[in-house]
């Protein structure tokens, strides 16, 4: 009897708490292909929510995160979006794979629930479906390539080589690189593919050496294959500069490719010299004892942007939050100095096209910014 009473008390307590708190759903990937990206981003979201709650929450109510794992499977993802909405989530943050985020939209659009991806970069997320409840603040794939090419232009390159892996995304990025290079009048003297699971990239790199390019563009996204390419590059003693895709901005290269990455330039959305970044890094380190990476910043920005929208809406009503999102202007951790996320009328991709940067590896560390924007 006593036990039953205690249980009942506990249940009521949770119910009361639930009424007080604002529930935010998070769909992440803990075991699938997006895990290397999704996990740090989720840690950033959790850190952001804790920070908000320490300051008394939003509108005087605590933020309660409901975190689900979709394994980067779109079908699982849609079901989880439904589950989160049923559990009372007023906003869903999606940090899993782009196709999974896309599938969630079919649910959020129908259930009129705000949803945002702070990290996905696929251009199609805001163009294929006209979902007024969805926003994207990750830098678009097209912006990444344009920024990298803008930097290449400053080097007045004429002849370059292109290398990628045989993954779907690696092929897609290589295609975009090719189109961009051709548009800029830069000649591609050799184009190579290294299949994932290869034991060496030396034949490809020899062929590139033979074509004598002024620079090499690495469009691959599979870390192990990129490491293989850099090893062959060092072994053959090659000297031409390397400009690499966004994949090089993940922190694992600092340990997995030790001694191989010095001098490689890559596109990123993170400027370590920015005051917001410095404050974020210090606070994160103090709270968790670990250094955050750019990926943590995406999750953190997503959480803070939602909090700002709820504050502006003055309530946790989904329709009011939606209206507030469209009028918000928020400066976060990500993006070049002075960049703000904005959603002008009709636009739901909020990352400034000139907000990306090109950085360079200094030793094994991701170092300074050498170029900003698309100009």
């Amino acid at each position: 009897m006593k036990l039953a009473a205690m249980l009942a008390a506990a249940l009521f307590a949770t119910a009361a708490q639930a009424q007080d708190s604002i529930r935010i759903g998070v769909i992440t990937d803990r075991v699938g292909v997006s895990k290397p990206y999704a996990e740090p981003a989720t840690e950033g979201i959790v850190f952001g929510a804790n920070e908000l709650n320490k300051k008394g929450g939003v509108l005087g109510r605590k933020i309660e995160l409901l975190i689900e794992d979709d394994q980067s499977k779109p079908d699982v993802s849609a079901a989880l979006a439904r589950k989160l909405i049923d559990q009372g989530a007023v906003f869903i943050l999606s940090v899993s794979l782009s196709p999974a985020t896309q599938q969630q939209q079919t649910v959020t659009m129908e259930a009129k629930t705000p949803q945002m991806t702070p990290m996905n970069s696929a251009d199609y997320l805001t163009t294929q479906l006209n979902n007024p409840y969805f926003w994207q603040t990750g830098p678009l794939g097209s912006v990444q390539i344009a920024t990298l090419l803008a930097h290449a232009k400053t080097k007045s390159l004429k002849r370059v080589a292109l290398i990628t892996d045989n993954s779907e995304l690696g092929q897609a990025i290589a295609k975009a690189f090719r189109a961009g290079l051709e548009k800029s009048g830069i000649q591609i003297v050799d184009e190579e593919v290294v299949s994932n699971g290869s034991t060496t990239a030396t034949p490809q790199m020899q062929k590139i050496r033979g074509a004598n390019p002024e620079a090499l563009f690495v469009a691959g996204v599979v870390t192990a294959t990129n490491v293989l390419i850099f090893k062959s590059y060092r072994e053959l003693g090659l000297k031409f500069p390397i400009h690499a895709s966004y994949n090089l901005s993940v922190p694992i290269y600092m340990t997995a490719a030790k001694g191989l990455v010095d001098g490689i330039t890559f596109v990123d959305a993170y400027d370590p010299d920015k005051p917001e970044v410095k404050a974020f890094e210090a606070a994160y380190k103090k709270e968790t004892g670990k250094d955050p990476a750019n990926l943590h910043g995406y999750g953190y920005d997503g959480m803070m942007l939602i909090a700002a929208a709820i504050r502006k809406a003055g309530s946790a009503d989904k329709e009011k939050i939606r209206a507030a999102m469209q009028t918000i202007s928020y400066a976060g951790v990500m993006g070049a100095k002075g960049m703000t996320y904005v959603f002008p009328e009709g636009k739901r991709a909020g990352f400034d096209p000139n907000g990306m940067v090109v950085r360079v590896y200094e030793g094994d560390r991701q170092g300074r910014v050498v170029h900003v924007g698309q100009k």
Binding site: P36, S195, T199, K207, G210, A224, E235, A256
Partner: protein, 291 residues
């Protein structure tokens, strides 16, 4: 021309790794008749053993190598004991243990992917990073090390099967299980040993290739395919067939990428086309079984 020699050494090293994986198939196949696709995952376990013992705990290379391969021997032996033997003893058809071992592929991989992060993990070179040149022929220390170790392993395996009584016992079990048992050969011990040795050889392949490819949870399947192809090309009749097949496969792979006048995306398919042609012309493999 310098490109060719440089490539030849690297390709020979890759071929040696394929050959080791091929030999791992053969060690299990000979006495049991089982094609064991889990050899690729054993190679992955060898690579992760290298990461944990050599990179993380910074053990001296020979010690780390011996301990990692010792662990693989236990894993191989216990896989036989737990997964294969019950099926064989119950008289299940040969397909049953083959499928059970395919299931083990998933078990090994998921175990690793839940224990380690999904990123590629660095494994050190045996002799450090550096190059050795003999006139026009040059290659990395690791390439020469891989070639040397592989030759030693194949010599040992050849000696075992051709010159020792125990090796003959393996052969006898392959030929006729019941007759071999009647002759006093301990079937269970032969089977457990063949799986243990297969795991050691596959793990060695993984450990040797990992300084190039890094250790990551998806590395097993491509190696399993390359090793199997090497075995098919070389033929299962003789031990050295696997090595010959591996070398031919690696050379075909890398020379087509380097020299064939087709986009390198298509060049990946060339070795497989060669394999099909090869099977049509010489279905028993390059080397015929003796006697």
């Amino acid at each position: 021309m310098q490109d060719f020699f440089e490539l030849a050494v690297g390709a020979a090293a890759s071929g040696c790794v394929y050959g080791l994986i091929g030999l791992a198939y053969l060690l299990v196949l000979r006495p049991t008749g089982i094609i064991n696709f889990a050899v690729g995952e054993w190679a992955m376990l060898g690579a992760f053993g290298g990461f944990v013992l050599l990179t993380k705990y910074e053990w001296p290379y020979p010690l780390g190598m011996v301990v990692a391969l010792g662990i693989l021997f236990v894993i191989g032996g216990s896989t036989e004991r737990i997964v294969v033997r019950p099926l064989v003893e119950k008289g299940a058809p040969l397909l049953a243990p083959i499928l059970a071992l395919l299931g083990m592929v998933v078990v090994y991989r998921e175990t690793i992917s839940s224990v380690f992060p999904p990123d590629p993990m660095p494994v050190p070179y045996a002799l450090g990073m550096g190059r050795l040149e003999f006139g026009p022929v040059g290659g990395t220390y690791q390439s020469f090390f891989t070639i040397g170790v592989t030759l030693a392993v194949f010599t040992g395996a050849w000696f075992f099967f051709e010159r020792t009584l125990a090796g003959r016992a393996f052969e006898a079990v392959a030929l006729h299980r019941r007759a071999a048992a009647l002759m006093g050969i301990n079937l269970s011990r032969v089977m457990a040993l063949s799986f243990g040795a297969g795991a050691v050889v596959a793990g060695l392949g993984g450990l040797l290739v990992a300084p190039n490819t890094s250790a990551y949870y998806l590395m097993g399947v491509p190696l399993a395919i390359q090793g199997f192809t090497a075995l098919v090309i070389g033929g299962v009749g003789r031990v050295e067939g696997a090595l010959l097949g591996g070398l031919l496969l690696a050379l075909a792979e890398q020379l087509t990428v380097r020299y064939a006048p087709i986009p390198s995306g298509y060049a990946q398919g060339v070795p497989l086309v060669l394999l099909m042609v090869f099977l049509l012309l010489r279905p028993t493999g390059l080397l015929k079984a003796k006697g």
